[in-house]
Symmetry: C2
Subunit: 351 residues, 2 copies
Amino acid sequence: MTTIAVLGGGIMATALAMPLTDNGHEVRIVGTHLDREEIESIRNKGVHPRQAVPVPASVRAYQLEEAAEAFEGASVVMVGVNSFGPRWAGEQLAGLLRPGQDVIAVAKGMEADDGNLRILPDVMAEQVPAELRGQVTWSAIVGPSIAGEVAARRHTCVVFAGLDQAALDRLAPLYRTGVYHVWTSTDLVGSEVAAAMKNCYALAVGLAEGLLEAMGEAQAPDRNHNFEAALIAQGFHEICLMMDLLGGRRETPYELPGVGDMYVTSVGGRNVRVGRLLGAGVKFTEAWERLGRPTLEGAAAIRVIGGALPRLTERGVISEADLPLLRHLHGVIALEQPIDIPWSKFFRGEQ
Amino acid sequence: MTTIAVLGGGIMATALAMPLTDNGHEVRIVGTHLDREEIESIRNKGVHPRQAVPVPASVRAYQLEEAAEAFEGASVVMVGVNSFGPRWAGEQLAGLLRPGQDVIAVAKGMEADDGNLRILPDVMAEQVPAELRGQVTWSAIVGPSIAGEVAARRHTCVVFAGLDQAALDRLAPLYRTGVYHVWTSTDLVGSEVAAAMKNCYALAVGLAEGLLEAMGEAQAPDRNHNFEAALIAQGFHEICLMMDLLGGRRETPYELPGVGDMYVTSVGGRNVRVGRLLGAGVKFTEAWERLGRPTLEGAAAIRVIGGALPRLTERGVISEADLPLLRHLHGVIALEQPIDIPWSKFFRGEQ
């Protein structure tokens, strides 16, 4: 039996308690300052407020101030905070980690600093003092994985990605069950970049329905699937280009973290809903307000990665003609420009 | 103005009259022996019975016995018969083609002959005597393209693929409009293989909902999207392997004919519906009967390509471990075996 301390009481971290406890491991979930109610609910009612499936009785839940107790004796630390909390999570880990622990993160995303794009596991790790940072291992879970389905024990295929193959080989068997299938990859950068970028294009897929509404064809028998498919194909083309630029392996986005993940993100969710409002002609800020100011990983990824493109172009890393869809999405989201898909620039502009 | 003779009165051929006539070209549609009513409907009512958008008034419709008249003076011949008619279409073309014509087909698919997989444009061209065959050019339209949406003038991005770049450069401008976007590729084999194989995996995506029904979870809040995404990713992995085997370019399936086309085929249609019945536990023959014995390109592709795999394995072209999902789909469709997804063999089996 292995003890896994989990930082973050969100639905993905809680869902991943299922395969771990199904394998007989001890799971200790530590809520962030935003998860107080979730932790109380798990403790008192055995359920997560946003998850249908009950939390296994063996899972122990801790408030943030009890974190040290939860981390005591844990050989694995799973970081379940979302894409917006890696810096905060890293600061917490700085005081909680012990040499020899394997850290595995569920957050996916990128940050930009003057055109230098960085993956979130790196941002998190950098908050930990260098010596301790080198005494633990850093990995991440990527691939098409809706939390509720993991909790409901639906078949799910994911990749554990990290630089340390030995750590991946320790971690994967803890999680593997008859329904939770785990592969490993040492292409951490490629996996994270593909996982982050697919959110941009999933939001773009939502534009299709909104544009039909704007044309007064919301009820038309002919939908806009050709449009969606074209944006997915161009999005995939742009992800592949980024692999080359950022040092990811070419084959990484062809499998679970890319093509699989883009599919599952495109079939629904908040990113697609905000895209639909944008397609219907609503400006981004208003669309975000209308949806109740939700966390929008697609819009965040567009701001960060799209926002870095002009600087990368200036530096000659990419050309003006590269990533036309992501550039346009940045214009629509960050600058509230009207939608005008740059079709003729797609696929190397060789139309 | 260019004259385009069209062999086949199906909905895709008719839909493609829209961009052609929007560009001022003359379109002459010749029905097959199965299209008599469609041709009468276009002639007398100006509509195709299975298409909402009216056929442009300038389109002329011919019965098969009037084909010679329709082909007179045409510089382009578009073949609109579906994947099951390339041999018949080729036999017709043998008597109708004239040197110098550019032929472009909308059918996608493959045939197998003792383990030798061949693309349908080749099967069609082989019915034409060798001398005449070399005096015309052969191309095909691939990419995510639902006919009704093309007819409704929704944005659609496709690839014209063929061995003769000059012919592609003549053909593409005839079709290009502000909504019908055309790229060209000389990777005809890769484009056709990707286009044919995606149908196999789109059918597999349908299994997900059926399996939920079989589990009594048809109404459950947690769906089976992780399952669908994993099958899409593995399908894509298998398509990429076939590129290497059959001489297609590695990058071809990463764009419109692969990732884009797989998306649009997976969102709905008969292939997905039959997959759903299979997932629910219905045997293939019964599922096909229940749906009214429709043309099922996915099932046909699984029979042909999946059926060729044992022979390719014997010959050492592929190994036993290659293409586990397609092998399993062949067992389910052709041999009516129960569904038992070979998860552990996915992605090179390195789980």
